[in-house]
Symmetry: C2
């Protein structure tokens, strides 16, 4: 069933008001009619089964029938901390990372980032990124839209970690030297309420100074399998394994 | 280090001849010079550390220094059996599935496949697909180039399985009814030498008749996490978890 994230102000007692792009999607793209059913998701994460009761231009009213018991969020909160890659890869990581359950994305300008972050275009880009994660969250039946943090440096990321956070990073250097923790042994230390940060370098990987900085800050080097993954594949590998460990056992 | 798959005829005693696109890649794209090092991979999977000894137009000679002990192939052989999706998704599944270790790809025309397979363009398309997997295999440091089977029907796939194969399929229906095996419990039954086939429906999912057919042929329904994954994400989820289970414990 089609899902829409609806902002708090539009929940009015026993019904919900759907506006703008979402209303257009229901009326024009999906060509839905009155009495058809959709799922509306409240910012708190509650999902409600609704019946469309009125279709007007750019405004749809839906009656709440029942609240659903949804369990589509990862039991571990995972933020993907990604060295800024080239343009289309950002879209890809946001879309697929949302499908796979990330709670937030934090891009950082890595030493080896080829792509520079253009702060002039930042606002416009962020709007586009937010649209990508909202649509992916709806499509994958999530009850939470991942947050996209402002781009910053790796130092800033590490200074703003949540308390008791665990930081893992994909470390090619450690893999070459055989000094890595198997990903399973690292993940098995994570508890349900903990916030897990997965740090992944940009296309050129993590620079040696960044690696030293991460190690000095208790980040744990891990391996994502013995093959060399492209930067945009690493986040997906990590999220799929986290789902497998915490949701599919 | 850059890797190149070299066909059998070009291995001549203590040196290797590199031609065509690969020679161009070394000389023009990578701008490498004599005495620089590359890795050449034999069709048997053996990887050799080599030094470039001679650069000519479209032909490069490299001297074998040593054979490497490579361990970049999944211990379980995994074929991705994928309901034919729309065009660009095929490229995506081939590239990322190769990075993540699939041994072969088998696309089938699912009942709900929107995309029809144009047999007239098949030869040309297959050449392009083979280029995608070769490049992804080189980039990810694999010693095996995945095989891409000719497109066929799901019945044909199931009739041509290797003996003792295990077939798992992503089943949204079972997930809705709560009648699925957790992916971990299904994977833990797989032994190292077994061939594992992962069946994934096209965009619209697996049709009910296909589902019944798979079940009647001992395929096991599994869940790839509680979120709804796009068809092109499902193969990656499966491969990442297989790596996690067999390589990262």
């Amino acid at each position: 069933m089609q899902r829409y994230f609806i902002k708090e102000n539009n929940w009015l007692g026993d019904h919900v008001i759907i506006e703008n792009d979402d209303a257009k999607h229901i009326a024009v793209v999906m060509r839905m009619n009155e009495a058809e059913r959709i799922v509306c998701v409240h910012p708190s994460g509650k999902a409600a089964l609704c019946t469309i009761s009125q279709i007007e231009k750019n405004r749809i009213e839906a009656k709440i029938i029942d609240y659903l018991i949804d369990n589509s969020e990862l039991p571990v909160r995972v933020t993907i901390v990604q060295g800024l890659p080239k343009g289309p890869k950002i879209d890809f990581i946001l879309q697929k990372g949302t499908e796979l359950g990330a709670i937030a994305f934090q891009f950082f300008t890595g030493e080896r980032s080829v792509m520079k972050w253009d702060t002039k275009k930042a606002k416009q880009k962020m709007l586009r990124y937010e649209k990508i994660v909202k649509e992916a969250a709806e499509q994958s039946h999530r009850t939470h839209i991942p947050h996209i943090h402002e781009v910053c440096s790796l130092t800033e990321v590490m200074n703003q970690l949540e308390e008791n956070a665990i930081v893992l990073f994909a470390d090619e250097e450690a893999v070459r030297d055989g000094e890595f923790a198997p990903f399973q042994s690292a993940l098995k230390k994570v508890k349900n309420a903990q916030h897990l940060y997965i740090v992944i370098g940009p296309e050129g990987g993590i620079a040696d100074s960044e690696r030293q900085f991460l190690l000095a800050n208790d980040a744990i080097p891990v391996r994502f399998g013995p093959r060399i993954l492209r930067t945009e594949t690493a986040a997906l590998y990590a999220l799929a394994c986290i789902s497998y460990e915490f949701e599919e056992s």
